[in-house]
């Protein structure tokens, strides 16, 4: 328990001290939220739901950013530097290692999401999710495929490649998944691409979860479960490669 506490705390401290992490994951979502709101002032006036719609998308962006950079870049870095190797000589367990990553991920996601919600509520009159409990639960469940993607990235790439890939996937996917605009108003091609991306379903699930019928998010969650299994398989393969193939 003590190890889990200290490892989680250390994880958080290290991430916060790393601008390459904190800027894209915390500052970007906030910035994009404020800019979108200001640039689409008209839409805000005419469409009272747009604030909530946008906020759901931005919350998703923040969470995915945290997971990509924490698990993807973080693990790639710890592998490369030999820290993970050294940990294998200590009594610290894989359970503690992943447990700390999970808790740190939840805390940072909560921070990132909480921040945009606070700004949205205080500055732009967005409503708080209808049922906060199911909102948090759905936000958490929907995040799992992205955690798996993060670990897959972390275990299969070098640190520099991990940063590049994380950015390359994260930002375009955020746009293509319609996080900042109504997808149904977008060109058909874009809508088709969006249907292939897990972030689209995560954003849908999150927006549904903010409303009065959060259980309707289930269909999106089922699709996300498919992505989760796919990326978990890749992550496990990467973990296995690192853990056993290198340990020979």
């Amino acid at each position: 328990m003590r190890a889990l506490y200290w490892h989680t705390l250390s994880e958080l401290k290290q991430l916060i001290r790393l601008p390459a992490f904190s800027i894209p994951t915390i500052l970007f979502p906030l910035l994009i939220f404020v800019l979108t709101v200001l640039l689409n002032h008209g839409q805000f006036e005419s469409d009272s739901d747009f604030g909530g719609y946008l906020l759901g998308g931005i919350a998703v962006m923040g969470v995915v950013g945290v997971l990509f950079f924490n698990y993807g870049v973080g693990v790639a870095d710890e592998r490369k530097s030999g820290l993970i190797r050294h940990l294998r000589t200590t009594p610290f367990t894989a359970f503690g290692f992943f447990g700390a990553k999970l808790i740190a991920g939840v805390i940072l996601s909560a921070f990132s999401t909480g921040l945009v919600f606070m700004v949205g509520i205080a500055g732009f009159g967005v409503r708080l999710p209808y049922n906060l409990g199911s909102f948090v639960l759905i936000l958490f469940l929907g995040a799992l495929p992205f955690a798996a993607m993060g670990f897959a990235l972390g275990y299969l790439t070098e640190p520099t490649a991990a940063v590049a890939i994380a950015n390359l996937v994260y930002l375009p996917m955020s746009f293509l998944s319609g996080l900042f605009y109504h997808l149904e108003e977008a060109p058909v091609l874009l809508q088709r691409v969006a249907k292939l991306l897990p972030m689209t379903y995560y954003a849908n699930a999150t927006r549904t979860a903010m409303g009065e019928a959060p259980w309707e998010a289930i269909s999106d969650l089922v699709r996300l479960a498919g992505f989760f299994l796919f990326f978990t398989a890749i992550a496990v393969w990467g973990y296995w490669k690192d853990e056993f193939a290198e340990y020979r």
Binding site: G82, L83, Y247
Partner: protein, 297 residues
């Protein structure tokens, strides 16, 4: 009292076509400083990796505290400092020490760890901003965090300044006196000679000599007799003396490698050769080492 802490039997390890470790046997007793000595690429680091459980041998067995390497109980009692030690760069020194302490059930106190490693004054510094020598001390601190019974150090003193080395070895004396065991690798012969009670010389993945440093020196059964002399001496005359293996002449000093020193010295005196500043001694460990390694090559 004598208890074997590390036992390595017939360990072989290949990397592709390269035979990094080629049949190594080792038995390390409790309470000693044991040095694995050898040139770069001799197989020291691979051997250590196998003992700490980071690599699996192709053949042979390893036991640490009577258990397989990597066993949870083994890791609880083990402190490891790897070569080019990986450190959590974005933590402060005290934070890293606390983190590593938390992994163990009975850690040393933070103050003790910082004192032994000589980094009390670096306590609040960010690890990323430390110099190479300071990083080594932090790595040592992390290896000590769990109050280990066995400390395994891969090239511990590369990059450590003299002061840090001295304070570390002072502590190591107490540590082994209280039953702690240290296994280290080094290519500093002088250091191995000074600090280790036992050592194994490794070359090309094999142990070519093993024992107490003095015993390894004696093992060669050769001594060095050196002196200055005002009158010029012919090398062939010196070579003809009983038991002389070789003769060197450098900067006015004759150096004879001999099987036994006494008959040579007696012969020099009886021939009336006026030696000046005569010195007699065992070959240095470095000379034995070079000889052994070259003999293997």
């Amino acid at each position: 009292m004598s208890e074997t802490i590390v036992e390595v039997t017939g360990v072989v390890k290949h990397f592709g076509a390269i035979r990094a470790v080629d049949g190594i046997d080792l038995a390390i007793e409790r309470g000693v400083v044991y040095a694995l000595l050898g040139p770069n690429g001799a197989g020291k680091t691979t051997t250590v990796s196998i003992i700490v459980g980071l690599r699996r041998p192709d053949r042979g067995t390893v036991s640490v505290f009577g258990l397989p390497p990597g066993h949870r109980f083994v890791r609880e009692r083990l402190g490891v400092m790897l070569q080019d030690p990986p450190l959590p760069n974005l933590l402060k020194v005290w934070e890293a020490v606390e983190l590593y302490r938390s992994y163990y059930s009975k850690p040393l106190s933070t103050t003790q760890i910082l004192e032994i490693a000589g980094i009390v004054d670096l306590r609040d510094r960010l690890i990323a901003r430390l110099s190479g020598g300071q990083r080594r001390r932090v790595a040592l601190a992390l290896a000590l965090a769990g109050d280990p019974d066995l400390l395994i150090l891969d090239e511990p003193t590369v990059g450590l300044d003299v002061e840090a080395r001295q304070s570390f070895w002072k502590w190591a004396d107490q540590f082994t006196a209280q039953g702690g065991t240290i296994l280290l690798t080094t290519h500093y012969l002088e250091e191995a000679d000074r600090v280790a009670q036992r050592l194994a010389v490794i070359a090309q993945g094999r142990i070519i000599a093993e024992g107490a440093p003095a015993a390894i020196k004696r093992h060669k059964q050769q001594y060095r007799v050196s002196f200055q002399c005002a009158q010029p001496l012919s090398v062939s005359l010196l070579e003809s003396l009983p038991g002389v293996v070789s003769v060197d002449y450098l900067h006015g000093r004759y150096t004879l490698t001999v099987l036994r020193p006494e008959p040579v010295v007696a012969e020099l005196f009886s021939r009336g050769i006026a030696t000046d500043n005569l010195q007699v001694g065992l070959l240095s460990l470095e000379e034995v080492f070079l000889d052994l390694v070259q003999g293997e090559g």
